[in-house]
Point group: C2
Chain length 578, copies 2
């Protein structure tokens, strides 16, 4: 038999297109005996957060279910579709919401299985919204027998109170059933390294049940969270089929017999693959014997690049932007953002760069910005802020009788740039790409409403050392898009005379290592000092990190690249004693 | 016997002061036979969010526990203290975290009871962090018998799978125990009307068990969330003891016999007091027979005023601000914020106002701002933005060859004001009070990085009609602090010629009613139209609301006044199809 894995790509709540997709498929697949499989929550999109509680959304969703049910006909094929099942009280208020697999065939749409493991850590809040299932479903179709799982159900952890894989296995053993496949409907967010972990776990489950593991994931960029697709079939120890990365796709899989060796131990050992292990600090000893954040490999960089391109375009598409603006400073962050945007640009889209020099901008900053834009064919506008800066300063001194200086004089430059950049954005309806990186964000080394502005942040989940690595990778792959002069110069905010980042912050490889330790939640300042990092530097970084929460609260969505990122999955109070 | 209810007020993670508080109390209370009761999570503060997962926090907390345990001595009294209990794996990673009541006496600190009902709706994420308890604790002390509960445990709902009150009652019935009191340790966030609901429920529980209900709450402002204290004892149908509102306090309660009538039904009827009912839309028919948001009463206004004053001061104290800045526009929102801040001002604190007129600011705006500041004795600085605006416009036209106009020309004024306001804030280290209201925020009628800037938003949970009501209330109570001319003039952003809010938005009583329906999540656009609201207006408001999520994501914390507010408890994706 054939299983058609539909790796779909729809906007959350885009019920018209979701309906049309199913309608066309049903019309096209008359009399097909194949099984059609869709991602988790295909019918709604994911993550919905509070949207699934809003009456307007629920009404529209219920209309969709009714319209889909009305599509049923005797010649239609059978589908396994992820969706929500609402249970309402007498007043139409949701009592329970279940994340289910619907079976859809000639007898209509009916829930077949309810997700058992509701992830509730990091970016996940499923226990806030959904009620967990407690029953296995062994699904018989055309003489074949399948185990069903939804996303997190394939995992287990000492934090979870149930282990759906084990429960399914126990039932299969007790009833003496040989499964022909385990089918998992997923909406599984991307981060670097996740795919590998997924494949290992899939292989363990395949070897547990002695059957292929069939995995359907969705594609989409939802604000900060990316879904990369990459649906697959694993048979025993082998990855046998693979769908595209960040593109909708259909994987037609002719069901195969199990090949490999049965192994009951790996999948049921609850020490491996627990999600907590994902949040360990990514720090290891380098060649010099120092604990450091490891460098990104080329493979990592390629994955990151594709993710950022996809994430930016998704946000643009869903918000209706065709124009983009990047403020170039002559430094590496903005140059990298411009390079990524240029590499992401689609037909009918327009990208502009703005260079806004102030009193402390080096000539080199202009030269490098000019060189870069010329090379990659991006229009560069130069908008000096010196005049506005000095006239505002004069007026300020006059109004307040309190000479503008220090931080005040530094930040107003950054905020003027923010205002001009957004004037351009308002005028040509363009999307502003933020240029902050994770290191800056972590220590608050940015100006609120100044260089921290933007619709979305491509680099906010990359440490400064990773910004360098990605820049070098792009130049290696595409030629010198980012002038080497930009990569080689010492980082500076250019807000005062002879300013360099290294005056305020530890050297980046050290800073990034300390940050990785703290942001993983796993290492204390004491742990880091024990690992050989400088006491004073660790304490300083911790203090800067701890006091800058207020800036991060007002930051734009950051495209999520790592297991632990700022944003939805990072929730630290502003006010506290540390 | 005497129960001393300690309504405490500490910053999250302020372990030194928490330790000192206990130490002093123990020294002072030698040989006391009283029972000392503290709030939920007294030892850490609440809500901690991810802080309770961070290694640095955990280490410091474990030190605190060890230090407290070392305070034990044979003459010390007995205490019931809310705190966290960590269960670690072999690597020191938290496996389970429990929200518990510690008994602390001469034999040390030991967990007595684990919270059973972990709220996970709206602002609450306790299931993300904590593992629920499943055992009742009947606590015997000096010949008396108490039932113990932690906060949410006193509630019940069709959404919760357990009902701790019922479970406790069943045990008491089965064992034939007569309780002498039910003690609840709470950290229960404030919102308008919550106290009444709490008292009703307390009375039901008192009448169920036939004993007083003793409730200890904390005091604190945690970013957006306020804890008002208001600890109490309810005996039967009567509120017999009450601690202060928004102030630390100690309530010494001589345990009394039950007075009133036993009623087993009220507390066990699972239809009443479910938390879902809190989120119904606050809309009712007015005298004219139209569905409208009801007006705030004077009592409401007084509660709101005290809450805002407390919330602002808490944020200032915890962030180390002694100076405050408000941008006055001549409109009602900024005038109200200034009035509230003036009424909140403590000794050694300084408040300034800045008026930043543009081309479209009416003379009246200055006159009214001047009049107000003069009357209440606040320094007003006038910083005209016309010059900066026109010179930036000229430069813009010159650089981009694309004349600045429309939205671009409107918003740059607002952003210039934001930059100047924050220059002042940087220069004198002042806290900027945001001046947006909930109606504006809901429809995105504000400029990102412009008038939407601020450290904290006092009015972000009040609709425009409520801003008017609160302003009138303040004038009634304190004399005409806010010039009536400000209250009476038609609202305008003054960003273009003859602009008035009513050109872009429905009249505020209508707008606010529509918003309340949508933001409660309970009413769809269809429901609102059925209730008689104008079809076009409802659709327009829904569209504006739905498209402005990106602005709300970058907004500062809003002091929470209502059951449903923007902020932590409101999670709607930016990108979606509505």
């Amino acid at each position: 038999m054939q299983i058609n894995i539909h790796q779909t790509h729809h906007t959350i709540g885009d019920f018209d297109n979701i309906f049309t997709y199913l309608k066309n498929l049903i019309e096209k697949s008359e009399d097909s005996k194949d099984l059609f499989v869709f991602p988790e929550l295909f019918l709604t999109g994911y993550p919905l957060q509070d949207l699934c509680l809003q009456r307007s959304f629920i009404e529209r969703y219920e209309d969709l279910l009714a319209k889909i049910d009305a599509l049923r006909n005797p010649k239609m094929p059978t589908m396994l579709i992820g969706g929500l099942e609402y249970e309402m009280d007498d007043h139409g208020i949701p009592l329970k919401i279940r994340n289910v697999i619907y079976e859809f065939n000639s007898s209509g749409l009916k829930p077949l299985y309810t997700k058992k493991l509701l992830p509730n850590y990091d970016i996940f809040d499923e226990q806030k919204y959904f009620s967990a299932g407690n029953k296995n479903t062994i699904y018989n179709f055309e003489g074949h027998t399948f185990g069903l799982l939804i996303c997190e159900d394939m995992w287990m952890s000492s934090m979870h109170s149930t282990d759906p894989v084990k429960e399914l296995f126990e039932e299969v053993q007790a009833e003496d059933i040989q499964l022909d496949g385990v089918i998992n409907l997923s909406a599984s967010p991307f981060y670097l390294g996740k795919d590998k972990t997924r494949l290992i776990r899939a292989s363990e489950i395949s070897q547990l049940f002695g059957c292929p593991f069939i995995y359907t994931n969705r594609v989409g960029g939802e604000d900060e969270i990316l879904f990369d697709g990459s649906s697959f079939v694993v048979n025993g120890a082998k990855l046998t089929h693979r769908a595209k990365f960040y593109q909708k796709d259909i994987l037609s899989y002719q069901l195969e017999k199990f090949s490999g060796e049965i192994d009951h131990k790996k999948a049921l050992n609850d020490k491996v693959n627990s999600w907590e292990s994902l949040f360990k600090a990514n720090i290891s000893k380098n060649e010099g014997g120092e604990f450091r954040l490891p460098e990104l490999t080329d493979e990592d960089c390629e994955e990151i690049l594709q993710s950022l391109r996809f994430g930016i375009q998704e946000y643009a598409r869903k918000s209706g932007f065709k124009n983009f603006d990047v403020a170039l400073s002559g430094g590496i962050d903005s140059a990298l953002v411009l390079a990524i945007m240029k590499l992401s640009l689609e037909e009918n889209q327009n990208l502009e760069a703005i260079f806004m020099p102030g009193f402390f901008s080096a000539t080199m900053s202009y030269d490098l910005s000019f060189e870069m834009c010329k090379k990659i064919g991006v229009k560069l506008s130069t908008f000096p802020i010196k005049f506005a800066h000095s006239s505002l300063r004069n007026q300020y001194n006059d109004v307040f009788k309190d000479p503008m200086e220090g931080l005040c004089d530094e930040n107003i430059q950054s905020r003027l740039r923010g205002a001009i950049l957004y004037a351009r954005s308002n005028q040509r309806n363009s999307m502003v790409l933020n240029t902050s990186n994770k290191s800056e964000l972590s220590v608050g080394y940015s100006t609120l409403y100044g260089d921290s502005v933007g619709a979305i942040s491509p680099l906010g989940d990359l440490y400064k050392t990773e910004v360098f690595a990605l820049s070098r990778y792009i130049n290696k792959k595409y030629g010198e898009i980012i002038p080497n002069g930009i990569i080689d110069r010492p980082p500076s905010a250019e807000l005062r005379e002879d300013q360099e980042d290294s005056q305020s912050l530890p050297e980046y490889p050290v800073l990034d290592t300390i940050l990785e330790g703290l942001l993983s939640y796993r290492l204390s300042t004491g742990d880091l000092i024990e690992m050989g990092l400088n006491n004073e530097e660790v304490s300083k970084v911790f203090k800067l990190y701890s006091r800058s929460e207020y800036k991060r609260k007002q930051f734009c969505p950051i495209i999520k690249i790592k297991a632990k990122s700022f944003g939805t999955g990072y929730r630290i109070p502003i006010c506290k004693k540390n």
